[in-house]
Each structure stands twice: as C-alpha cells, then as structure tokens.
C-alpha cells in the first residue's frame, strides 16, 4: 500500500520533471551572454513599466542590445506602480516610469524631471505634458467596438456621436469600464469639450440604459465578440489582438465615430524620467530610442498602436490618425482626474 503510494508520487514528480525539461530555457541562456558583453561599470537602467511584459519586453530587449545598456524592469499595473513611486519618493530606484495612460504619469508628475528639448520636439505637442515632464510614446484611439451579428450596417445603425448612445434604444446593449484609466480620460475629454452639464447628462443617460460594467477593456471586447453586448466603449487595439488570436471570424469590429468629439479622442502611453534618477543619460537614450523609427514601427505593427513620429508604416488594420477626426484636446489635460472622479462619484457611476 505504502509502496504504491510512493510510486504514485514518484510518477507525478517524474511527469513534472519531464515537463520542466520540455520547457524552453534557450532564452535565459541568451540573456547571460548579453549581460557579459556589457561593460562592468555600466549602471543598469531601472524601468517601472505599467505596460505589460508581453507588449514591451521585445522592444526593451532591443534597446539593451543596441545600446549595450543593461536594463532592469519592474512590470506592474500602472496604478500600483504610481503608488509605489509615490511611497518611494526620492529614494526610488527607478529611472524611468513607462505608463499605460496620462493619468498615471500625471499622478507622479511632481517626481519627474523636465525632459530636454530634443526629446520634447520629437512628438507633436498635443501628445506630451505641457511642462515637458513626460512624452507620449504610442497613441491609442477611443472607439466603439460593435458585434457584427447585431450591427450589420454600422454607418446607419450606429450613431455619429457618442452622445447619442443615451437613446433608450441602446438599453441593455452597452458595455463600459468606468474604473479604467482610458475611460476616465475620455470623460475628462467630455468635460473639456462638452462642459460639466452635458457630460453629467450623458453619464446619467448611459446609466439609465443599464450599461454593463466590466473591469477593463479586454472583457468588453470579448463580450462584444460573443454577442453578450452589442457595443462597447474601448481603446482601439484590443480588437486586433482578439482577431490575431481568434482569426478574422471574431465577431467584433471597431467603429470610428464620424463626428469625432470625446468619443474618438486619442490617448497616449508615455514615459517620464524620475528626478531622483542618477542615471539620466541612459534614461534619456531610452526615451529617445522609444521614439526612434524602429521602436515606433514596432508599436505600429506589433501592438497595433499609433506611432507618434512621422513616416512610420503602420499596420493595415489601423485607420489613419487623420480620419479619426480627433478633437482638439491637450493630452495632459486628460490627466486631470480629480474633477472627473468627483463627477463619476456624484452620478453614481463610481463608488
């Protein structure tokens, strides 16, 4: 009896060992080789990345390979890392904060060092902080994702302006993610473009339409594809990943609102250099590298985001930035969350 037990355990362990052996350990070998090539006295560049490893690790590795600068990264949620930075204060080991959205960068702006002009000039002025503390690295547009079974003729079935989704005919058909940073940036855009009152009416209207609350963009796109909801307010690039993983049969597509307005503002993921950093040269070369043609090409074709410098060929899946009819809003104003939070709480959208 005891022996058979031992045999079972042995079998389980040997299966595990086999599985471990089957796993690829090629990549870790490569890393070791790279490390030894780097001069020993070079200080490693420390990046706190609110953008996930699956999206930015390849381009960060490329930066390391090209410049020979050793990079250490901490991946986490943008908000968790912002809180971490704020607690660390000037003792922070981080040199770079690479954030998912302007809100995250805005919340630690007092800890960031002003960027040099040659970096600021690389991106259009709308895509960075007005006091030069951070720059956008890639653009993402707000769009309406719709289910292709329910909406067969988007131009006629869908409204031209996001405002019209308060029409009762959309009751129970909308999905949104009020806790999401990009969503809140869109609401800030509404407050700037429409004013408090109209924004309040819109929020109340969408609430009255019993919009379904999701935790973030990904499940909205998934729910739209499955037909659980007909439309959702999201960032544009999630859809392309679903299509990549589920083939073209995935039953959702993006719709760019023809009227523009807050429903189609363009947001950025961006980066700033920590004031407490004593490795600013490497940090600057990192930001410059992210704004160079190879990196911008990577974002345009691999993560389906908008490049922020001129002359980059983007994925054919992306509509042109110029056709987006982007309203004239300063990105950094979109990071002004306090009044937006208050409005969202007053209307009962957020707890």
């Amino acid at each position: 009896m005891a022996q058979s037990k031992r045999r079972t355990i042995k079998t389980i362990f040997s299966i595990l060992v086999l599985l471990l052996l089957a796993c690829d350990n090629q990549a870790s070998k490569v890393e070791i080789v790279e490390e030894s090539e780097v001069p020993k006295n070079a200080k490693p560049l420390v990046i706190y990345s609110g953008r996930s490893e699956s999206l930015v690790a390849p381009i960060i590795q490329q930066f390391s390979a090209v410049t020979g600068i050793l990079v250490k990264v901490k991946y986490g949620k943008t908000g968790a890392l912002a809180s971490t930075l704020l607690e660390e204060g000037n003792k922070t080991p981080a040199d770079i904060y690479f954030a998912q959205d302007p809100g995250g960068l805005g919340s630690v702006e007092s800890m960031l060092a002003p960027l040099t002009d040659d970096i600021i000039e690389l991106v259009p002025s709308w895509a960075g902080s007005p006091n030069g503390k951070w720059v956008g690295i890639s653009g993402r547009a707000r769009v309406v994702v719709y289910n292709t079974d329910a909406i067969t003729d988007p131009t006629n079935q869908l409204p031209d302006n996001i405002y019209d989704f308060i029409n009762p005919k959309w009751k129970g058909k909308i999905g949104w993610a009020p806790t999401n940073g990009s969503f809140q940036a869109m609401i800030t855009g509404m407050r700037i473009l429409w004013g408090e009152e109209k924004t309040r009416t819109w929020l109340e209207g969408i609430l009255a339409n019993e919009a379904k609350v999701y935790a973030k963009n990904t499940p909205i796109v998934e729910a739209t594809g499955s037909g659980e909801i007909e439309v959702g307010f999201v960032n544009h690039y999630y859809l392309h990943r679903f299509i990549a993983e589920n083939t073209e049969s995935f039953k959702a597509r993006n719709y760019v609102l023809p009227d523009g307005g807050p429903g189609s503002i363009v947001l950025v993921a961006g980066a700033g250099i920590l004031d407490a950093s004593n490795n600013k040269d490497s940090a600057e070369s990192f930001v410059k590298f992210m704004l160079s043609a190879p990196s911008q090409g990577y974002f345009a074709n691999q993560t389906y985001e908008y490049p922020l410098i001129e002359g980059i060929n983007k994925s054919h899946l992306l509509p042109n930035l110029s056709t987006l009819n982007t309203p004239d809003v300063d990105i950094s104003d979109l990071g002004d969350l306090e009044a937006t939070q208050k409005l969202l709480q007053e209307t009962g959208v957020l707890p």
Binding site: L55, G79, A82, K212, T218
Partner: protein, 529 residues
C-alpha cells in the same frame, strides 16, 4: 519558587516573540492609518450612500460564500471520512484541488465558457436545447465561483478533525439515548467547531479581499472600490480610507467568531482514542460518489479543461508558446521560502493562543488574521513605505518579498496548526515535563512531532497560495524578477489567452503534488493520544 519563575519565563518568551510578530503583521494597518489621516475629505469619502451599499454587497457575499463553503465541506468530509465511498483517497485529493486555481484564472475561464454568450451557451443553442442561458454575472456568479474556490479552506481542517475525532464521545451520547441527529448537533458539531471556525474565518476574509473573481464576474464589492482608487484615480490616500473600512469588517468577522464558542476542551482524556468506524452505504455509494465529484469537477477540472482548450487552440493557430525554466524555478523557490518563513512566524502565535488563553493571546491571534481580509496590494504598498523608509537595504530583495508573503498568509498557517493543537491533550506535554524535559525541549520533542502533519499542511497551503499570489509579487518582487503568476497576468491582461494558459497550467501542475501530499501524509501520521 524556581518552578514558578521558569513558567513565567516560558510565558514571557512566547509573549515577546508573538508581540514582535504581531508588530510585523500590523504594519499594513499602521500604514493605512498614517495615510488615511492625511486625507482631506475623510468623512465625505466614507459617509456616502453608495459606500454603504457597496459595503452591504461585500457583506452579503461574505455570508453566502462562507455558508456555501461550510455546507459543501460538511457534505464532502462526512462521506469521505465516515463511509465506504469508492476511490476515497483519489476523491479526497480531488476535493482539495480547487484551492490551487487562481481566482483571476477561474473568472476568465468561467466567463469565457459559462458567460451568457459563452461556449456552453453556443453548444446548447446549436443543439437547440435552449436559447436563454441563465446569466451567471453578479451576486450568484461571484458566490458560485468563490465558494468553489475557497471551500477547501474549510474542508481540509474539517476532514482532519473528523479523522482525529474520538468516537467515544459519540458512542457515549448514543448509548445514553440520544438519536443520530441530536448526537450530531450536541456532540459532533461542537467538537468540530474549531475546525469549522478557523476554516470559516479564512473563507470569509478571503472573500472580503478577492478582486480577481468579482471583477470578471462584475459584482462590485468593497475591494473593487478600493482597486478603483488605486488603478483609476491613482489615489492611494482615498484607497487607504476605504481600506480601513475593510479592516473594521475584518475585526467584526473576527469578533463574531467568539459567539460560536464550542466546548471548553476538544481532546479526550482516555489513554487510547477510538477512531470512527466507516458506515457501509451499500448501493447508494456510487450515487454519492458522483455527487461528491461535482464540486471538485466544477472547481478544478473545469478551469483546467478550459485552460487546456485555450492552449491547444493557440498551438493550432501557430502561436509561439514557451515558458522559461527560470520562471518556474523562481516561483517554486519563492513559494518554498515563503512557506518556511510563514511556518516559523506562525508557531509562537499558535502556541501562545492555544496554551495561554487570556485576552492578550486572543488579541494577538485576531490581529494576525486581519491582513488576510485586505486586498494584497494594500499590504504590498505598506511594505514599500516601511522598508524604503526604515530598512532600505532589504528593499526590492527576496527578503522583503518573503516577509510580505509571510504577513499575508500567516493566518492560513496559524489556523491549520491551531485546530490540531486544540485536539492534543496537554497532559502529554505535562507528562513529558514531569519526566524531566524542559518547556522548549518538550515543544521540540513532543508537541511539534505530534502536530507535524498539520504544521506541514499549513506550510503546503502557504506554498500553494504563494504560487498564485499576484499583486504582492508585482509590487514587492526584486527588479527583473519573473514568476508564473506574473506571466499569467502579463499575458491575460492583454488578451493573449493562449499564452496565459501555459503558466496557469504550470501553477496548477506544480500545486498538484503538494495537494496530494496534504491528503496522503496526514493519514499516515495521525495522532494517537
């Protein structure tokens, strides 16, 4: 005279070490107070109708999940311990497995397959069975998922308590004329109450602090509101104010525990325990067998199958899905260290709380539980604050990460050990000391070997929990650190489900042997009085 002083020394030794550990565990609470006090709109933020409603939603969920888990555990433990169910050990291992499934993974699979328009609905409608598949979102979905994931917290201690229960109590009750049900309510149930209470506390606190499942199942709880402050508003001060409310609820849950007081002692004084005979179920055994399979099948096999489906779909679509050996090693290494450390700090607290029943020991034990009711991001950020300001050399080292896990999972180890320690007759220790062994050597040579199975069980539970823990790992881990749970999140958050499936499967496979060990080892080393 000398003897009294010696006893005092033992007492103060335990007291001092427990107080030190509690100081470590109180760091998150102290941090919350420091941050909340700096809030300008403390009262405006707290006293809103909406806060009150969300609080109620959390409390309802805690109650329903705790009740559900208790019922399921009772049912499973009863049949698996006291009857002749076929494949008993296999089933027992199976029943422990849901604990290894991360709630964010389960939520993902659950929505994808059992969502209102998920794969299961597609199947039903293509077979023309039904078009109106019920909507599992909200309260019921969250209750189902969290119950299925957390019942092992009760099942494990309940089962071992049943195994170790001295049947002479029940026999006496029956022979004095009480019927089977009365015996159950007046004798069996009170004897099992320490196991039920300690497991129930963990389930309640776990439910309170869960974010992964409630977010994906769209049930807004208090923890959700706190996460909104961190991730949407980037406001850790408001998050701290709201977190203090969770601390208050945790305190409420912990003090309500005192209402369910059982008998004064749980051990038998007879020299040899009589163990329970198993009841013959005859033809009904196969029927019960299938019912017992339902919770583990829903809680573990179903998400595992969902992950395999994603993985193979991804492989068929030609995605490159790899996992580095170093990632797996990191996860294992850290989980083993966390288990060892948690074990170390749980011993003094448990001994103190069970052997010296006074208000200080009760207070110390309760404080050690509070952290389990908080979202782990709060614990992580509070440790960032304390280490960088006061012990900066360990900042972003493995030491800090391990301490963080220890603080978070301490109650799991404490509760596992405490249940057994309560059932151990202290006369055994007295005998050892009467024969000349000192207090500490008695503990080392008599008590610890006797309760070894449950010490190991506690350590293994911490091991499993560490493997899947996410927010704390994210914030406290050293730079460039990679683990399986971080990989799962890194892919899943960007909708790369096929790529997220492989590390999720690895977490489950690594946990499997540990869960099996929990069951097998216990049987071999049962305590004889």
């Amino acid at each position: 005279m000398i003897k009294i002083r010696k006893a005092n020394l033992d007492y103060y030794g335990l007291l001092t070490s427990s107080v030190l550990i509690v100081a470590l565990v109180s760091i998150p609470i102290v941090y919350l107070i420091i941050r909340a006090v700096s809030s300008e709109d403390f009262f405006e933020l707290l006293f809103r109708q909406r806060v009150f409603f969300i609080l109620l939603r959390s409390i309802f969920l805690v109650i329903s999940v705790t009740l559900g888990s208790t019922l399921i555990s009772f049912f499973l433990a009863h049949f698996l311990v006291r009857t002749n169910i076929p494949f008993k050990k296999f089933l027992t291992v199976l029943c422990c497995l849901p604990i290894v499934i991360p709630s964010y993974v389960y939520g993902m699979v659950f929505v994808n397959i059992l969502g209102p328009k998920g794969k299961f609905h597609d199947l039903l409608s293509s077979l023309r069975i039904t078009e109106n598949f019920p909507d599992f979102y909200g309260f019921w979905g969250a209750t189902i998922v969290l119950t299925l994931l957390s019942y092992p917290y009760i099942f494990l201690p309940l089962r071992s308590a049943m195994l170790r229960m001295d049947s002479s109590f029940e026999d006496a009750s029956r022979s004095l004329g009480r019927g089977r049900f009365k015996t159950f309510f007046y004798v069996t149930f009170p004897l099992l109450s320490p196991a039920l209470r300690s497991g129930g506390l963990l389930v309640a606190l776990y439910t309170l602090s869960d974010f992964g499942a409630v977010a994906l199942l769209r049930y807004e709880t208090f923890t959700w509101a706190i996460m909104t402050q961190f991730e949407g508003a980037f406001n850790r001060v408001s998050a701290s104010v709201l977190s203090l409310v969770l601390v208050a609820i945790a305190v409420l849950i912990l003090s309500s525990d005192s209402f369910f007081k059982g008998p004064k002692s749980y051990f038998s004084s007879s020299s040899s325990n009589r163990f329970l005979k198993s009841r013959n179920l005859d033809y009904k055994r196969w029927f019960i067998f299938f019912i017992i399979c339902i919770p583990p099948a829903m809680g573990a096999l179903f998400p595992f199958a969902g992950l395999l489906y994603w993985l193979f779909k991804g492989i068929l679509l030609g995605e490159s899905i790899i996992i580095e050996f170093g990632t797996i090693f990191n996860s294992l290494f850290v989980a083993i260290l966390a288990a060892a450390f948690t074990l170390l700090i749980s011993c003094p607290i448990t001994f103190f709380a069970t052997r010296y029943k006074n208000s200080i020991s009760r207070l110390i034990e309760k404080i050690s539980y509070i952290g389990f009711g908080l979202p782990s991001i709060v614990i992580a950020i509070s440790f960032v604050y304390f280490t960088i300001n006061f012990v900066s050399p360990i900042y972003q080292t493995l030491v800090m990460l391990i301490i963080g896990y220890g603080v978070l999972f301490l109650p799991v180890a404490v509760s596992s050990m405490k249940t057994t320690l309560l059932q151990l007759n202290p006369n055994l220790e007295d005998a050892s000391r009467g024969l000349g062994l000192g207090y500490w050597s008695t503990m080392w040579r008599v008590t610890i070997p006797l309760i070894m199975p449950s010490i190991l069980a506690g350590a293994l539970l911490v091991f499993l929990l560490t493997l899947k823990e996410l927010p704390l790992t994210m914030v406290l881990a050293p730079l460039n650190f990679d683990s399986l749970s971080l990989k799962v999140w890194g892919f899943a958050s960007e909708a790369f489900f096929a790529k997220a499936a492989l590390p999720s499967i690895m977490i489950i496979l690594l946990s499997g042997p540990a869960a099996a060990y929990l069951v097998f080892k216990r049987n071999e080393l049962d305590i004889r009085g």
